[in-house]
């Protein structure tokens, strides 16, 4: 009897294909992964603890920094939770603006994923294409919000400011051109034999397993579960938009790739619908307790300035209770569970991070596969460590 000894190698935390600071300890039998142990926490900033010591408005910038590719979605989940706690009505225009910006951000997030995922597997060209379009989205976001990566655009009760003049044409031009860009990406990858060899039949997770492991988002839909928070619990007027949920069938890396591509098309369509049907009206709830005054007024009107200070620093006092609200982020179900004890700070703010649960299923997916496939699987479940470690 010869003793079997596995080789242990350490992948990460500084590794270009782990998309951040994920560390994997892999035990290898030749080329085959026998056991994988992820180590996380390198980016832990204690967001939940910090939030307990800030007023409700002051938490919004913290949420930007969770999944930094999808800041608008994080903002949305948080403000929806606080609004549910307060039980206030949001004007239709603000809801549509939120949907439009979140979907633009989703496109940007998926474009990063597509470029880096393809780069990991060896298709470098695509990165230049996707970052070209992502730049267009970020320019739009910058023009609307003032920030590129961390916009902090949403406010409790509405949004920070209305669309600037002339932005509609730019968004329209982007929306019109984007389907052709997706076709460009597809000519590079979808029928590419190397791409198919590297992704088809790789990293399979069944629907039942995905549900049991708490996997959500495109990773779950790639396994064939037709489930999306936007359809299951429509928020922010998503029920007024016409869109479908793309699903895969095999649950492999290729299916997740196809699902995300189709999702970008639907996001694009939602942006178009929101822009076409954008209602007129106020952009923030008419509730002086919570709604921050307009920035212009703050600069010119002493009463508005006082309001601004009072609302941001003293905040408001929501009723006692607890709420959970989730949105469909770029990575999956992003939820905020807020407990209020009646004071002006959240008593407990729990973030339900989609990437955290998706990456917890990683050992299940990659054990038994080749070490080269680990890279494509990590790329395909699309993790962001800022959200996993919080």
């Amino acid at each position: 009897m010869t003793e079997i000894r596995y080789m242990t190698i350490n992948m990460g935390p500084q590794h270009p294909a782990t998309h951040g600071v994920l560390r994997l300890v892999l035990e290898l039998d030749g080329e085959v992964v026998v056991k994988a142990t992820p180590h996380i926490g390198y980016l832990h900033r204690g967001t939940e603890k910090l939030a307990e010591n800030k007023t409700y408005h002051q938490v919004i910038p913290l949420t930007d920094r969770l999944d930094y590719t999808n800041a608008m979605g994080n903002n949305l989940a948080y403000v929806l939770a606080v609004e549910k706690l307060l039980d206030i009505e949001i004007p239709k225009r603000a809801q549509y603006l939120r949907v439009m910006m979140t979907e633009l951000q989703r496109i940007a997030a998926h474009l990063i994923w597509l470029g880096t995922h393809a780069l990991d597997i060896g298709a470098m060209t695509l990165l230049f294409y996707t970052f070209r379009e992502r730049e267009e989205v970020l320019r739009i976001i910058e023009e609307v919000t003032g920030g590129r990566i961390t916009p902090t655009y949403l406010r409790i009760g509405g949004v920070a400011k209305d669309l600037p003049e002339g932005i509609e044409e730019k968004i329209k031009a982007f929306v019109q051109a984007f389907p052709d860009h997706i076709k460009e990406y597809e000519t590079l990858l979808t029928k590419n034999i190397i791409w198919m060899e590297r992704t088809k039949g790789v990293g399979i997770i069944s629907k039942e397993d995905a549900i049991n492991w708490g996997v959500t988002g495109p990773t779950l839909r790639g396994s064939g579960a037709k489930w999306d928070v936007r359809k299951a619990f429509p928020y922010s007027s998503y029920d007024e938009f016409d869109f479908d949920i793309p699903v895969g069938s095999n649950g492999d890396v290729y299916d997740r790739y196809v699902v995300r591509l189709r999702e970008m098309e639907w996001s694009n369509s939602i942006v178009r619908q929101a822009l076409e049907r954008l209602p007129k009206g106020p952009i923030i709830a008419d509730d002086p307790r919570v709604a921050l005054p307009r920035k212009d007024d703050v600069l010119h009107d002493i009463a508005a300035l006082i309001d601004q200070f009072k609302i941001a620093f003293q905040g408001f006092y929501p009723p006692k209770g607890e709420v959970y609200v989730s949105v469909e982020g770029a990575k999956g179900e992003l939820g905020f569970y807020i407990i209020s004890d009646g004071s002006n700070r959240p008593f407990r703010m729990r973030i339900r991070p989609p990437s955290f649960l998706n990456v917890s299923a990683l050992p299940k997916i990659i054990e038994g596969s080749l070490i080269a496939d680990v890279i494509s699987v990590i790329g395909s479940i699309d993790i962001v460590l800022g959200e996993i470690d919080r």
Binding site: I211, W213, G214, S360
Partner: protein
């Protein structure tokens, strides 16, 4: 409607275990004794009418300085009924809770996180280690008596080599 069904089923099956049912903003929270949590979760998972196959979230809450200091909160989701239900158990300091990892694999990391940040231990958990903080870290940061800046914020951190 279906949440009522959940409550009804639980009342039939475990009449002594449903301590409190609260509804706030249409969200139902059921409090139960901590000894029965595993049994109730298994029932909610396997009952053909309920089918809570998805563990959305599991987290801890600290109510320092109360005697029953901690709460562990389970958020269950049934894809069949499109329904959520929240379960709560109260835990004293130093007490441990049965792990639900045998029902939902998702609980594996979530329970590790509760252990890491609150110091609540889970029985029969296959791999109860710290997850966000490093091994050898002292204290549990999400406890209310843990200072925000950290206990040693004025001392530089020098790891032993």
């Amino acid at each position: 409607m279906e949440t009522n069904l959940t409550i009804k089923r639980l009342n039939e099956k475990f009449p002594a275990s449903v301590l409190e049912v609260k509804t706030f903003r249409e969200e139902v929270t059921i409090t139960m004794p901590k000894e029965t949590i595993l049994e109730i979760c298994r029932f909610l998972y396997s009952d053909p009418d309920l089918q809570y196959h998805f563990l959305t979230d599991l987290c801890g809450v600290d109510f320092f300085p109360k005697n029953l200091r901690f709460e562990v909160v389970y958020l269950l989701y049934s894809m069949k009924n499109n329904q959520r239900v929240r379960l709560k158990i109260k835990v004293r300091e130093g007490e441990s809770v049965s792990s639900v990892e045998s029902i939902w694999k998702a609980a594996n990391w979530l329970e590790r996180e509760v252990f890491d940040l609150f110091g609540i231990t889970f029985e029969n958990h296959p791999d109860l280690r710290r997850i966000l903080l490093w091994d050898g870290y002292e204290g549990h940061p999400l406890r209310k008596d843990y200072p925000v800046k950290g206990p040693d914020f004025d001392k530089p951190f020098i790891p032993e080599v």
